[in-house]
């Protein structure tokens, strides 16, 4: 009896994360992600420059001890702007994914669990949303509502929920036939209880994986929209509009420090999030790997 208590029991989650720790690529991605998140969050402590401080006398400075990654056309410190830009890019990724996951999970579970007409209607809405070309709609909405960080988040969230709704619905369809769902009904739980207590915890793994990959997509679409001038409004920096600012031939040829660092950051961020997402998928759903 006393022996039993000392033995620590592992939940399926803990087992999954143990498995994740053994995946080297995923851990590299996770470390990189942590580093970027940390330096973005603590940006004011890492740089002495103000984000938007203009210093026209020192425009287009090469990287030096004073300006680690040089300055742009208005003499603003590129390194500082990169750190602050990380905040914007990451939060756009995070918020837009949260919106997408929220809508997707609610509609996916409702459709999958109740079936019939409700399911039909929801899935047709998904089909309709999937027909929208993302950038076209994003550009139109941004043009109507005006470019702002919030609009980017909302557009990207509202257009991105369809994939997760389909995944969730498919999972729910197979899950609801399992005996433990019937057992829950026999205990007297209603559909809301069953969805919240049994269905959602059991489909958390694909949701987490999809959300992780969705953050990468959110960052990418923010960069794309900002590059087109329809995303985050200057002077607020984001990786996307820093790239956009450096798109002149002159900058591309002479001022490499203006576009290589944000480009690399976007690239490495997406890569590491994707590695982490793949690792999570393998770790949380071992059946897939076989």
């Amino acid at each position: 009896m006393s022996l039993d208590k000392s033995v620590k029991s592992q939940s399926p989650w803990q087992i999954g994360f143990e498995r994740l720790k053994k995946n080297r690529l995923a851990m590299i991605g996770f470390t990189l992600l942590c580093i970027v998140v940390t330096i973005s969050v603590f940006a004011p402590l890492l740089t002495s420059y103000d984000r938007d401080a203009i210093d026209t006398l020192n425009s287009y400075q090469k990287p030096s001890a004073e300006h680690w990654l040089g300055t742009d056309e208005l003499g603003r410190d590129t390194f500082t702007r990169l750190l602050y830009g990380g905040r914007i890019s990451l939060s756009v990724g995070l918020v837009s994914t949260s919106i997408a996951v929220l809508i997707g999970v609610i509609l996916g579970t409702t459709g999958g669990y109740h079936g019939g007409h409700i399911d039909n209607i929801i899935m047709r809405i998904v089909d309709i949303f999937m027909c929208f070309p993302f950038f076209l709609i994003a550009i139109v909405v941004a043009a109507i509502l005006g470019p702002s960080i919030w609009n980017v988040m909302i557009i990207s969230g509202i257009l991105g929920w369809t994939g997760i709704a389909r995944i969730v619905r498919a999972e729910v369809l197979s899950l609801k036939e399992r005996e433990f769902i019937e057992a829950a009904r026999a205990l007297g739980l209603n559909s809301r209880d069953i969805i919240i207590k049994h269905i959602i915890p059991n489909i958390m793994a694909p949701i987490i994986v999809y959300a992780t990959l969705g953050i990468a997509r959110g960052i990418l679409s923010e960069a794309g929209l900002s590059f087109l001038g329809l995303g985050v409004k200057p002077p607020t920096p984001s990786w996307g509009n820093m790239l956009a600012a450096a798109q002149s031939m002159r900058s591309l040829r002479l001022h490499w420090w203006l576009w290589i660092p944000p480009g690399c950051l976007v690239f490495f961020m997406i890569l590491s999030i994707n590695f982490l997402g793949d690792g999570l998928r393998d770790a949380l759903d071992p059946k897939l790997k076989q």
Partner: protein
């Protein structure tokens, strides 16, 4: 109050078959096709039959886990549903009734939520019905686990840490958590190995005596049903073809299907001489239309009448009911 705990009259469950581009209903699988069961308080009623004859569906329809197509069920003088008279308890009343009616499931690997601890699983119903707070409920579930022969300290473990037999005990503990009066046990021992089967059966027997339970015991194992159940119903293609006490059914089977089923029970002694009745043909599809006895195509002593008239379940002696044209009163063919 009557001596019967639950009474079912002509319950049917027909599953529609959809086909074609527009998913039109082209027919019905008659999984349960008019079953009437009366179960007395404190009794173990066995339901036997081959795979796919509708035993499990009967159990589930009986306790309103699946929507019935027709028929009526009365539990303790309270009508749960009566499709013909359009009576149905509200969802809220049904939830309250679930306290008294519980179910033990067939597959102990599928019937426990893998993301919940054993304590949460057993306590779930207690918390839902507000019989206790979460903390007390977990304590109660420890006691229940002990009652079912598991250590109470297992409450913080997850189902994947247990073997099949242990999981089935958890399933039993969950069913007992609400102090039910009636338990539908859907092949509770079919997925277990033989040494554990007897343990679980003994446990169920003990609990029945200790807590005054009533069981509907669904099984395909005649040997177990013989000793475990008080009364037995034999099902064939959605109907009960013979019903009687365990004694009556095993010493004096009347329906040709029951006879062939019993002849398939393995001999317990090598020198035992017994005639083995092997049925010809296959079980007809439950979706097909029958004009007479469903057993007609396979029956060794079928007569013309069997294909034209559906036999009724008639009482040939006290408590012994048979649905066959060829069986006369008093049990003579």
């Amino acid at each position: 109050m009557s001596e019967y705990l639950i009474r079912a009259r002509g319950i049917k469950k027909h599953f529609p078959i959809h086909d074609g581009v527009f998913c039109r209903t082209v027919g019905y699988v008659k999984a349960v096709d008019g079953v009437s069961i009366d179960i007395k308080k404190g009794e173990i009623f066995g339901l036997v039959g081959e795979s796919g004859c509708g035993k499990s569906t009967t159990g589930r329809t009986l306790i309103n886990l699946i929507e019935p197509t027709s028929g009526s069920v009365t539990f303790e003088d309270k009508v749960i549903y009566d499709v013909e008279n359009k009576i149905k308890v509200s969802a809220k009343e049904m939830q309250a009734l679930r306290r008294d009616i519980q179910m033990i499931f067939q597959d102990p690997y599928a019937s426990l939520d893998p993301r919940m601890t054993v304590g949460e699983i057993v306590a779930e119903g207690i918390v839902k019905h507000k019989m206790a707070k979460k903390k007390e409920a977990i304590e109660k579930s420890m006691a229940l686990l002990e009652l079912c022969g598991l250590r109470g300290s297992n409450v913080n473990k997850y189902p994947h840490e247990f073997s099949g037999g242990q999981r089935q005990r958890i399933g039993i503990a969950r069913a007992l958590a609400l102090n039910p009066k009636f338990i539908v046990a859907d092949e509770p021992i079919a997925a277990l190995d033989v040494s554990i089967q007897s343990q679980v059966l003994i446990l169920m027997q003990e609990l029945k005596e200790k807590l005054g339970l009533t069981y509907l015991f669904i099984s395909h194992d005649l040997g177990i049903v013989k000793y475990f159940c008080d009364r037995i119903g034999v099902m064939y293609l959605g109907n009960i073809v013979e019903q009687g006490t365990s004694e009556q059914l095993f010493s004096n089977p009347q329906h040709p299907y029951t006879k062939s089923l019993l002849s398939a029970v393995p001999k317990t002694h090598p020198r035992e001489v017994r005639e083995r009745i092997i049925l010809k043909g296959d079980v007809p599809s439950p979706a097909s239309h029958f004009t007479g006895c469903k057993f007609y195509s396979r029956c060794p002593n079928a007569i013309e009448k069997c294909n034209q008239e559906i036999p009724e379940l008639r009482e040939i002696e006290k408590d012994h009911l048979v649905s066959c044209h060829c069986v006369k009163l008093g049990g003579k063919i």
